[in-house]
């Protein structure tokens, strides 16, 4: 009883307060800023509502998404919600309605089968116009000094040069985010290379490593890809692996060939595609070149906000944007 007394006395005013607050909220609901402001927000031509854009973690993707978001927001009057997610997780969002559109998709045959063919919660929204290449790269100074290094067959010869304290006595092959599309571990094994894959964790870490390697002329072999703004600053050299042939990468554990050329595309949720939202039409129409993407990505990397970079590009390419919307 001694305890219950003060406890009760303290809780009663609290409860009363909460109740009063609740009453106040419901009572004054009509005067809320929220509702008042809601009316002019939908002033565009067609009702657009809200679009959730998945944000995957590389700057090229950010460029696509930024331009898409900018146009959707400013020309269609949509509310754009950007969500930072991994590639795989983004696809899961199609089913729950958390994600409406993925603006740059690299292949992902398994996910395409699962979500587009089997579950039918997503649809292909057409190519972005970009062509993607994945591969192993060395900094330019190495390609100059050791010309034969760009042939994958010679990699073992140079393995000792690439050893680090992380690579356990073998040569280090630096990969990016574990979420990125990669066959590198299988490749190392199946091509009998004396290398170990070490993950740097992100695109930013990869870029930083390549930059330092070129600056200090230290050896580095790493996973990289195009289109990529960084290649215009430091033109990394691709190492040739056995050429890709149809089906050579069908079994992820037995891959022994280079990466294919990816036709990058957009993917959107079935619900969103069927909604008739102008934003869905925009997503289907969106198409540009590698140079376009690189120019936006370079601006973003240079410190511009994605939105400002998108505005700059959109203002300079009004015709292209118009063609997306028609």
């Amino acid at each position: 009883m001694k305890k219950a007394g003060p406890l009760l006395k303290r809780t009663i005013p609290l409860m009363a307060g909460v109740a009063a607050a609740a009453l106040l909220l419901t009572g004054c609901g009509g005067a809320s800023v929220n509702q008042v402001a809601a009316a002019p927000a939908g002033a565009g031509d067609a009702p657009c509502g809200s679009v959730s854009v998945a944000m995957n973690a590389w700057v090229g993707y950010t460029a696509n998404a930024a331009v898409y978001s900018y146009v959707a927001k400013n020309q269609l009057g949509c509310t754009v919600v950007q969500k930072d997610l991994n590639e795989q997780i983004s696809w899961q969002g199609f089913a729950s309605g958390e994600v409406d559109v993925i603006m740059e998709n690299w292949g992902h045959a398994d996910l395409t089968k699962q979500y587009i063919t089997d579950q039918q919660v997503a649809v292909d929204a057409g190519p972005t116009g970009n062509e993607g290449h994945i591969g192993w790269y060395v900094p330019p100074w190495m390609a100059e000094k050791y010309p034969d290094i760009t042939d994958g067959k010679n990699l073992n010869k140079y393995a000792s040069m690439f050893t680090t304290s992380e690579s356990g006595g073998k040569g280090q092959l630096l990969d990016g985010d574990p979420a990125f599309v990669t066959n590198d571990e299988a490749l190392v094994k199946n091509l009998n290379l004396d290398y170990k894959v070490v993950f740097s964790g992100s695109e930013a870490a990869l870029i930083q490593s390549f930059r330092t390697a070129e600056q200090n002329k230290t050896p580095l072999l790493g996973y990289f890809y195009e289109p990529q703004w960084f290649l215009s600053q430091v033109p990394l050299k691709k190492v040739a692996l056995p050429a890709w042939t149809e089906g050579c990468d069908a079994d992820a554990e037995k891959v022994a060939c280079d990466y294919p050329t990816y036709t990058l595309n957009k993917v959107m949720s079935k619900k969103f595609a069927d909604s008739g939202s102008p934003a869905a039409k925009l997503a289907k129409g969106f198409k540009w070149t590698n140079d376009d993407q690189n120019s936006v990505a370079t601006d973003i990397q240079g410190g511009m906000s994605p939105e400002a970079a998108a505005k700059k590009w959109v203002d300079a390419h009004e015709q292209t944007v118009k063609s997306w919307l028609s």
Binding site: K3, N34, A41, E87, G93, S96, E203, S209
Partner: protein, 677 residues
């Protein structure tokens, strides 16, 4: 390289004969030394054979069959009764609660996405609640912090996080306190629940994020459920511990008055356990806050998203700015709950300067003010969304970025040589000692050590754990993880004892260090991974540092609490008999805080293990990498799940061995290491 390790081998068990020169300990020493010798011989002679290595991209049949889970969920979501009647309704309920708080504080889904209560009202209302349950000081702190969050330009993100934490903590307490009481009252419940809690705490968060996201779909609901799983164990454990640790004679006194079980619970056990329960609520809240941040990976909105984005672009400034918000939120939550518990102490009301009636008047007036603020925030725009003109966030980001740039360019020589010397000098030899020894030798050695420490039972448990790890196909990766974990834990315990003793002995040091420890504990790992990634690159060393930062605060706090709880009369007796401070520490305080030290070692180990996975994001490798890769690549889903289980069994193994070592009559610190040798 091997000689170095062999020296350690002989040194470590040696404290045992010094302290208790009886027959039993010396036999244990012989067994431990014997295990060490077998290990070294096995390593030297059979080096590199039967190491059970599995390349990272390869799967075993078990992993392939676990991969099927993914497809199974997809196929059964629509019509399986488990989904229809359990998972889907659960998701709906949690989603609704979360959305209620989100629309209240963070953003409604309509129009301008302004919340029901704008920033001004939120500040007023939360300030008033802090005043009502705590005191004026914490109310002021709450108001100041939430206003500062606005200045940082992160008010919306912070309220998203706050709303999710609120949801998760409410659900956690709803589940945790009753379970904790049951476990405290009934020994049978406790024995059933303890391994479950161990499992929940050792299972790395990444492991259940992936299946949870599959089952409950990504979004706030899965984030909250994941957070509850992560945050419930502390409050359950501490509630049970609080009830259990009531002195036997107090209980008997109550029983002799003829109280029934329920009366005893309500009038004796719960009130007496209150401090410990509140400590549990504290810990759970902190855990919830850090988990909500990690849950950004499955689309939980809030500050975590900002941090994740910063991690991916190595943007130290943004990460620190958002990290600061999280720490400030943590401090508010911590201080308010602590103040509330102080008020609840008997007699607290009487000692207050203001009489009860005046207090009600003050409460009423301030409530009116708060409600006016709420109303204002609903009717005028300046009070609804935090004005953008006062945003100092970019300035903070800029300043931190340039500072970290400077450090990266000027300290790199020092940091690189530190990293290289630790990696090649300690970590690599120790790791190869674990990975290159044939597995059967190591299993035998560990079983022998376990037998020496805890008898046949412990030997059987450890062998079973190792057997499961072998079955999971991840022996070699487990040994890599074990090496990193043990190195980090040893360092954590060194820090734990040094700072814990300092804090336990001096109130002032305690007050100075505690906020820093809170910060280290609540700041999501991601935040400090970013600067360390800049300084040390993506290496196992960075991961070890991250583990230490995460685990050391727990070890330090528990040690400090243990030391501070020693009865002052004992200390005075020791001092008056002429002991030097050093003697007091080594002869009185450390031995008497033995239980706390054991708990600290235990918790430190578990925390380091949890961090090993997050460390995989910056190059830790081993099981952690398998888990992370399984989270992000569906072809590796099964392997990630298996790796998560392997971490749990590794955790159980280490946990049981440290407990057994602690129970033995030895100095804890020396023994805590011995299972590793």
């Amino acid at each position: 390289m091997t000689t170095l390790v062999r020296d350690q081998e002989k040194v470590q068990p040696s404290p045992s004969p010094v302290r208790e020169p009886r027959r039993l300990p010396s036999r244990r020493t012989i067994l431990l030394v014997g295990a060490g010798i077998i290990w070294i011989l096995g390593f030297l002679i059979l080096h590199g054979t039967s190491t059970l290595t599995l390349p990272a991209s390869e799967l075993t049949d078990l992993h392939r069959s676990l991969n099927q889970f993914n497809a199974w969920v997809a196929a059964n979501r629509a019509d399986n009764p488990v989904f229809l009647y359990i998972f889907t309704p659960l998701r709906a309920v949690v989603d609704n609660v979360a959305n209620l708080f989100i629309t209240l504080f963070a953003a409604s889904s309509t129009g301008l996405r302004l919340p029901e209560i704008g920033w001004f009202g939120t500040v007023g209302l939360l300030g008033w609640i802090a005043f009502a349950v705590g005191n004026a000081r914490v109310a002021l702190l709450t108001v100041a912090v939430f206003t500062f969050l606005g200045f940082q330009g992160l008010f919306v993100e912070a309220t998203y996080t706050f709303a999710l934490v609120l949801t998760a903590v409410l659900l956690t307490l709803l589940v945790g306190i009753p379970v904790g009481i049951l476990a405290g009252v009934s020994t049978r419940v406790a024995t059933v629940i303890t391994p479950v809690l161990d499992f929940m705490q050792t299972l790395p968060t990444f492991v259940y994020l992936a299946p949870l996201a599959l089952i409950f779909l990504i979004g706030p609901a899965s984030a909250v459920i994941a957070t509850v799983i992560y945050a419930a164990p502390p409050v359950i454990r501490l509630t049970a511990h609080g009830i259990r640790s009531i002195p036997e004679n107090t209980r008997e006194a109550s029983d002799s008055l003829g109280t029934t079980g329920l009366q005893r619970l309500l009038t004796l056990q719960l009130p007496m356990a209150r401090r410990t329960v509140v400590m549990g609520i504290n810990q759970s809240t902190m855990a919830a806050l850090s988990m909500v941040t990690i849950a950004a990976l499955i689309a939980a909105p809030g500050l975590g998203q900002v941090v994740v984005r910063a991690l991916q672009s190595l943007d130290v400034g943004t990460a620190v700015n958002a990290g600061l918000s999280i720490v400030l939120l943590a401090i508010v939550l911590d201080r308010v709950t602590t103040a509330a518990s102080r008020r609840a102490e008997p007699g607290a009301a009487r000692t207050g300067r203001i009489s009860r009636r005046n207090r009600y008047i003050v409460l009423g007036v301030t409530l009116a003010v708060a409600l006016v603020m709420v109303q204002l925030s609903r009717s005028s725009l300046w009070a609804a969304a935090f004005p953008k003109d006062f945003n100092i966030g970019p300035a903070i980001v800029q300043a931190v970025s340039s500072a970290s740039q400077w450090m990266q360019s000027n300290l790199s020589l020092f940091t690189v040589s530190l990293r290289e010397s630790v990696t090649t000098g300690i970590l690599n030899p120790f790791q190869s000692l674990l990975t290159d020894t044939p597995f059967y030798i190591l299993v035998g050695v560990i079983a022998l050590a376990a037998y020496a420490l805890g008898g046949w039972k412990l030997a059987a448990v450890t062998t079973a754990c190792l057997g499961v790890i072998i079955y999971l196909g991840l022996w070699s990766d487990s040994m890599v993880t074990l090496a990193g974990t043990l190195v980090a834990t040893v360092l954590v315990m060194v820090l734990g004892v040094v700072f814990g003793v300092a804090m336990g002995r001096s109130q002032r040091v305690d007050q100075l260090l505690r906020p820093i420890l809170d910060a280290g504990q609540t700041m999501p790992a991601f935040v400090y991974l970013v600067p360390f990634l800049g300084l040390f690159g993506a290496t196992r060393f960075t991961a070890i540092i991250a583990g230490i930062i995460y685990a050391a605060p727990v070890a330090i706090k528990i040690t400090a609490d243990g030391i501070a709880a020693i009865s002052p009369t004992v200390l005075e007796a020791a001092i008056s008999s002429g002991s030097t401070p050093w003697q007091v520490i080594t002869k009185v305080q450390l031995p008497m805080a033995r239980k706390s030290l054991a708990l600290a070692a235990n918790q430190g180990l578990i925390y380091v293990l949890a961090m090993v996975v997050v460390g995989a994001l910056v190059g830790a490798g081993g099981l952690g990498y398998d888990v992370v890769a399984g989270f992000v690549q569906s072809s590796l889903f099964g392997k990630g799940l298996a790796a998560g289980l392997a971490i749990v069994f590794l955790g159980i193994l280490l946990d049981r061995m440290t407990q057994a070592a602690a129970a033995a009559p030895l100095r804890k610190i020396a023994v805590a290491k011995s299972p590793s040798t």
